[in-house]
């Protein structure tokens, strides 16, 4: 197998020189694939993503060990605009659009990577093709968009940078299932048409395993489980804790009924937004 597009090797991220958020995380994103990073709040998913995208430096955090390699170049502790220049672009979890800029301006502000004349317009047309809704909202201010529209705009403006790898922090958080389903379909189309890789951070395993080719599960700053979609879907722990399915007793009309007594108590109490 060829070297993956992005290789993260045993990285350790430390906030304010004392708080370790991520310990020895290793993951790879192959070209043209969608990879998901699963885990609860505080598992270190977002920090990992921030480390890759260079968001860390401004948070007084640092990658202290390990390496982040993208297409053979090291991306560790580089300023975010340089990382974007290499083709790694992040859709952050919060504050993902410029609230006082219109939709059109949100798409006009990003720097198009390695562009020639006409590239910007071509990319803009592609994006309006993926998200026709944004074309209707052109002159609407970013801050007035609904959650789903905002997520679309955030992805669209990230795509304006012509990324090779798109990082998305919490695709489904706070969005209605129907909107999430729509976004998933569009993301798959974007991956297929533009041939870019996507690294997705998700709390919802159901969403992630619907779209991802491969997934990593993080807990307490470490990767505890990884595998391709089928393997994780059939993994017993994932089914129980992450997808909310149990091996309960099927009743007459085929539905599975289970008692709360059967739910294995996991180490900590936790909630899944599956």
């Amino acid at each position: 197998m060829n070297a993956p597009l992005l290789q993260v090797e045993k990285i350790e991220v430390v906030y304010k020189r004392v708080i370790t958020a991520v310990q020895g995380v290793t993951l790879a994103v192959p070209d043209g694939q969608i990879v998901a990073l699963l885990g609860t709040n505080g598992a270190g998913k977002s920090t990992t993503l921030r480390a890759i995208s260079g968001f860390l430096g401004l948070d007084d955090a640092k990658v202290t060990e390990g390496s982040i390699t993208f297409e053979g170049t090291s991306l560790q502790n580089r300023p975010p605009h340089e990382i974007a220049g290499h083709g790694v672009v992040l859709v952050p979890e919060r504050e993902k659009v410029f609230p006082n800029l219109t939709v059109a301006e949100n798409l006009a502000a990003p720097v198009v990577r390695a562009s020639k004349a006409g590239d910007r317009r071509q990319q803009e047309e592609r994006i309006y093709h993926f998200f026709p809704r944004l074309a209707d909202l052109r002159d609407r201010t970013g801050g007035l968009l609904s959650g789903g529209e905002r997520q679309m705009l955030a992805i669209a403006s990230a795509l304006m940078c012509r990324p090779k790898l798109l990082l998305i922090d919490e695709l489904s958080l706070g969005l209605a299932p129907v909107v999430v389903g729509d976004l998933i379909r569009r993301l798959a189309a974007i991956r297929d048409d533009l041939g870019i890789a996507i690294l997705l951070v998700e709390q919802s395993a159901a969403v992630a395993l619907e779209i991802a080719d491969y997934a990593y599960v993080m807990e307490n700053g470490r990767v505890v489980l990884d595998g391709d979609r089928e393997r994780l879907r059939s993994h017993k722990d994932v089914q129980e804790f992450y997808l909310g399915q149990g091996n309960g007793v099927g009743n007459s009309d085929g539905a599975v009924r289970r008692s709360y007594r059967d739910v294995k108590q996991y180490r900590r109490s936790r909630r899944w937004y599956g």
Binding site: F55, H81, A84, V97, P99, N100, E105, A109, P110
Partner: protein, 290 residues
Amino acid sequence: MQLLINIIVLASIYALIACGYVLIYRVSRVLNLAHGELMMFGAYLVLACASLFAGHPIMALCAAVVLSVVTGALVYVFLMRKMTGEMVLAAILTTVALGILVRGVIVLVWSSQQQYPAQALGISNPTFTLPGDGHISFWSLVLVLTNLAAYGALFGFLRFGRWGMRMRAAGQNPLLAAQRGINLHGVYALAWSLSTLTGALAGILMALDSGVTGSMPVIALKAFPAALVGGLDSLGGALLGALIIAGAEVLLIYYVDPLLSDVVPFLVLVAMLIVRPWGLFGTREELDRV
């Protein structure tokens, strides 16, 4: 009529200076308290260029303007750049230190006596009589026109220019802007250059009109209330704020007491801070950041 002209000229001075505060505040939340000194530095640069390009007043003026822009960029690159990511207050104090330094250098190099760049350049300052028996000096007229042109250009640039858009984007969310490939250092350096440019234009034109002394930054201090009254993050607000402050100042000088001149801007400011602390067009949430 003369009163109206005085108001317009004074408002132009304040507005041209105030937009410099607004530009830097908008992109980086830093109050540039060295703005007055940088403005004065621009005026003294004219003196330097006048001896450099003796006999070519236009070239000397252009050189002074270009040098001011370079000064702004250098201030960012060598001083303020180190302060990105630090506390805003630390950055503001840095500008205070810069202001003191610039003032000291100016006194050292050019002494604290009043100087007349217009004489050094060998250009005159004729006075025009307008209909209605009002008088305006040539350089004051140029200042009013420059102010209008500067605001027009800035509005256009921020609204439609790609880098203007990026400046607004960086002001709203620097992290996101950086991740969209926008070089924050580029944006900040641009803001500092533009701010110093407008400040220096004001300084140069005032110096050509009435000479320059080491006390010129006081005028910039009086323009600061104009920016605050309008709302620190609003360009249109700065223009209106300047008009309000200048109007109040000129009218009170005329009808009450000339000695009020230095007090009026701050009186208006205090009144504004009581009624509407975030300024006429400012964003309310901006307040807790200062």
